[in-house]
Symmetry: C2
Subunit: 319 residues, 2 copies
Amino acid sequence: MHSLIGSVFMKELANDILLKKGDSAVFNIGKSKLAFTTDSYVVKPIFFPGGDIGSLAVHGTVNDLAVCGAKPLYISLAIIMEEGFGAKDLSKIVMSIKKAAGSSGVKVVTGDTKVVERGSCDKIFINTSGVGEIYYPGLSADKIKTGDAVIVSGPIGDHAISVISKREGISFGTKVKSDSASLLRLIRKALGSSREIRFMRDPTRGGLATTLNEITSDRSFGIALEESQIPVSEGVREACELLGFDPLYLACEGRAVIVVSAKDTGKVLRAVKSDRFGRGAAIVGRVTGEYKGKVYINTRSGGKRLVDMLSGEQLPRIC
Amino acid sequence: MHSLIGSVFMKELANDILLKKGDSAVFNIGKSKLAFTTDSYVVKPIFFPGGDIGSLAVHGTVNDLAVCGAKPLYISLAIIMEEGFGAKDLSKIVMSIKKAAGSSGVKVVTGDTKVVERGSCDKIFINTSGVGEIYYPGLSADKIKTGDAVIVSGPIGDHAISVISKREGISFGTKVKSDSASLLRLIRKALGSSREIRFMRDPTRGGLATTLNEITSDRSFGIALEESQIPVSEGVREACELLGFDPLYLACEGRAVIVVSAKDTGKVLRAVKSDRFGRGAAIVGRVTGEYKGKVYINTRSGGKRLVDMLSGEQLPRIC
């Protein structure tokens, strides 16, 4: 259904900026190069280990701007809630938004609230849109070259597992907390360390596998992942075994995928690791001239397999 | 509940831009003066005489930018829909968005879609945010002076009545169509005709009465309306009599309230009337030194009464 909608909207509303399919739209107004993005959050449950719908909404929009090389400046906040939604929960969410916005240095400058009858929405939905100013122009998957490295800024899948386990009331031996966080400082450090970063994205819906497939799709290179190098936390590993998930497809909400030249890989990795949210960063793969348009993985057991787009349904209401 | 939420958010997230409470936030990036706004649309039913949730969402955001003296440039589109929402309805809405955006000269440059389980949202909710560039800076209720005129660009309340009558399955002698429209051209004509326009707003939620009360609240002037001059269509009048509504409180989605100097009133009224959506424009009141902070109305019958903020609940899900 997602892809159906995506294609209907993309086709009918097509324009040069929309068709770039970035995490943010990038355009000039006057002499300023701006980034603009939007996301709605329908996560269920609204409170989960490591975050809530409020902090998630702020981090998500801040990160979508940051990975485009922009300094996030202003965000909007639009709330849809059902009648009778608890004042205490609302207050917790607002405080969480305040904290997340404060620590990301963005101002909530405009907003909207709509209250619908009980049963017409599930508790509360939040939309945040954001505007930022580009300070590192030119990031684009089109810039990627054979030999570039693929860095992931930390363990993958913690967000999805924290939400799913809370929703389903499942607990694992190791508690999993969402990775939801503002990537602003981490990305500033990374971009400050090299002029040869080609492209960044936060692997949210569909996880690392989907993000990398979107990068390679229709392009003249492939990506080879090294399974042994991909950071996965103990808890996520346990959960995936128990529930039959593949961590490559699980959403992160505080991780960045960074593609950088071979030459600058070490510098960028060190810069990322110097940030508190980047300690678990790793080089997980390389851009190759083989397997054009595809992502494959060299498995721990010495094999090689294709990492495809997710064929079935994605986990619903993770963000 | 709205005001409770408003005050919680306003208090906790306060900053200089948010506290101006404009229809859009206004700020500078580089040398550009920008306007930024957001609104979620939860109108029920999603199709109504004169429009649908798609055109409404585009017009609403375009108008919020336009009344701040901005040229709307780019909008975002975020959709939340329930599983199983009809492809035919979705397609109608997309085509309606396309048409509204095209006729307003704005591009949809970024978007998001979330699908929730059936019953977790009522059909479809749409958020549009927008970015525009200010070409007529300085519009502000703080600029309003005693003696200024209050112009309304056309009959009030048609949007609210069209939605309510469709929702409740009521028909009146005269069919009422929503006034939902892009005010872009009308406002450009108005602003082009005078340098003495002080302030503009589109009287959406809470209607003309609420908009004017927001203007006068805590300020050192009042507004005197002339009941006989306020344009109300035949159908809205009938509906109000039947249903016990006061047209002053009914939402419009294609009307502008314009406050202008006494000297330039005639010029601006002519400019507004020259637009196809402004043919029914009228001077409906004056800014006075009396009744500071209040709105009152000289009634048809020769009396005078206070036009207060709406004390009860507003009509739900009109926009």
